[in-house]
Amino acid sequence: MMNNLCKLIPRTLVNVARQSQNTIKRCYAAPIKRFYKQTSVLYNDGKYEVTLDQRKLKTPKGTLFTVKSEPLAIAVATEFNNQKEHIERTKMHLSALCFTAIDNPNNHTKIDMVNYLLNYIPTDTILFQYDDEKDLHDLQRNEWDPLIEWFNERYGTQLKKTMDITPPTVSSEDKMKISKYLLSHSEDVLYGFVFAVDTLKSIILAFAAIDQRIAVDKAVTLARLEEEYQLKFWGRVEWAHDLSQQELQARLAASVLFAHLNRSEYFKKEKTLI
C-alpha cells in the first residue's frame, strides 16, 4: 500500500521531502568572488567614477556609480580593494550608502526623509531618562543633558527630556526649525542623516556627530549608555556587546563621512603662470 502511494507521488517531490527532513538549510545567495585585481578612480564630466580593472562600477540597480566628491570615490574604491576572496557587501557601509543614495530603492523624496526624521524626535533616546536608579540617572544627567542644551542652543529649539513613559512634546515651531535646517541639504546628505539616526536611535546624538561636536565612538557610547551601565553589573559578552558596538561605530562613521563629503566642496583657484 505504502509503495503504491509512493509511486503516485512524483519522485522529485519525495526527494525534496526526504532532504528537508534531514537538513534544514537556509538558502543564501553565494557571495560574489573578487573578480578584479585593481581598483581606481576616474574623473568624468564633473563626477568621479570607480573602476574595477577595466570595468566601471555599477550600482545594484545597474546605473553607473558616480559621486561628486573625490575622497568619497577614493574611499569606495579602497573599500572594494580591501575585499579579500569574496566581496562582502554587508560589511561595506560606505559603498552601501552611496548605492542607496544613487538608486533610491524606496523612491524617497526629500520631504519623506525630513518627515521621517521629524517623527523621530519624540522617541529620541536621550530625551527618555530614568530617575529610579540614582547612579544611572547621574550618568544620564552628566552625559546627555549638555548635548540637549547644545542642540537647543544650536538649532533654536526647546526640546525637553521626559522622566516617565509619556513622550516629550515637540512644538510645531521646533519642528519647523529643524525641518528648515534639514531641507537646506541635498538628498544625498539627508541619506547620511537618516542612516546616522537609525544607527544611534537619536536625532540629537546624530546631529552632534555629524556637526563634529562629539567623536563617533563617543556618540556610540552615549547611545549605548544604559547598556554600558548595566554591563558593569552583569558582565560583558564579547560576541554580543563588543560586536554591536563595533558595528554601530562603523555604521555611524560611514554616515558621518558620507554626509560630510557630500556637503563640503573645495573651491580651488589656481594662479595662471604668465
Partner: protein
C-alpha cells in the same frame, strides 16, 4: 601632535585592511598624504568648522578600525554549521569506534 598620531593610525589601518599588506601605490594613502601636506600649516579654513580635516581623518580611522575589529570578532564567533562526529568526539575526549585503542 594629534594629527601625526591620526596619520600613523590611518596608514596602519589601511595597511592592515589591504589584501597584500602594501600601501605604497594605494589610492587612499596617497590622497591622505596629499591632504596632510595641503593642510600642513593649518586646517583652519573659511566657512569650515575648527579642526574639520582632522576630525574627518579621525572618523575615517574609526571606520576602518571598527570594521577590522568587527571582522575579527565575527571570524572568532560566527556559526560554522553543524560539527562533524569526529569534532564532537574530540571536544568531549571520546574516540571513534575505528580509532586505535591505547
Amino acid at each position: 601632535m594629534a594629527a601625526v598620531k591620526t596619520l600613523r593610525g590611518l596608514l596602519a589601518e589601511l595597511r592592515a585592511a589591504s589584501p597584500n599588506g602594501c600601501i605604497k601605490n594605494n589610492l587612499a594613502s596617497r590622497y591622505i598624504l596629499a591632504q596632510y601636506k595641503k593642510f600642513q600649516t593649518t586646517d583652519q579654513q573659511l566657512c569650515k568648522a575648527r579642526d574639520e580635516a582632522l576630525s574627518l581623518a579621525q572618523t575615517y580611522q574609526t571606520y576602518l578600525s571598527s570594521i577590522r575589529k568587527y571582522n575579527e570578532l565575527y571570524k572568532e564567533f560566527h556559526g560554522r554549521g553543524e560539527r562533524t562526529v569526529r569534532e564532537t568526539a574530540d571536544m568531549v575526549g571520546f574516540k571513534l569506534p575505528h580509532d586505535p585503542k591505547d
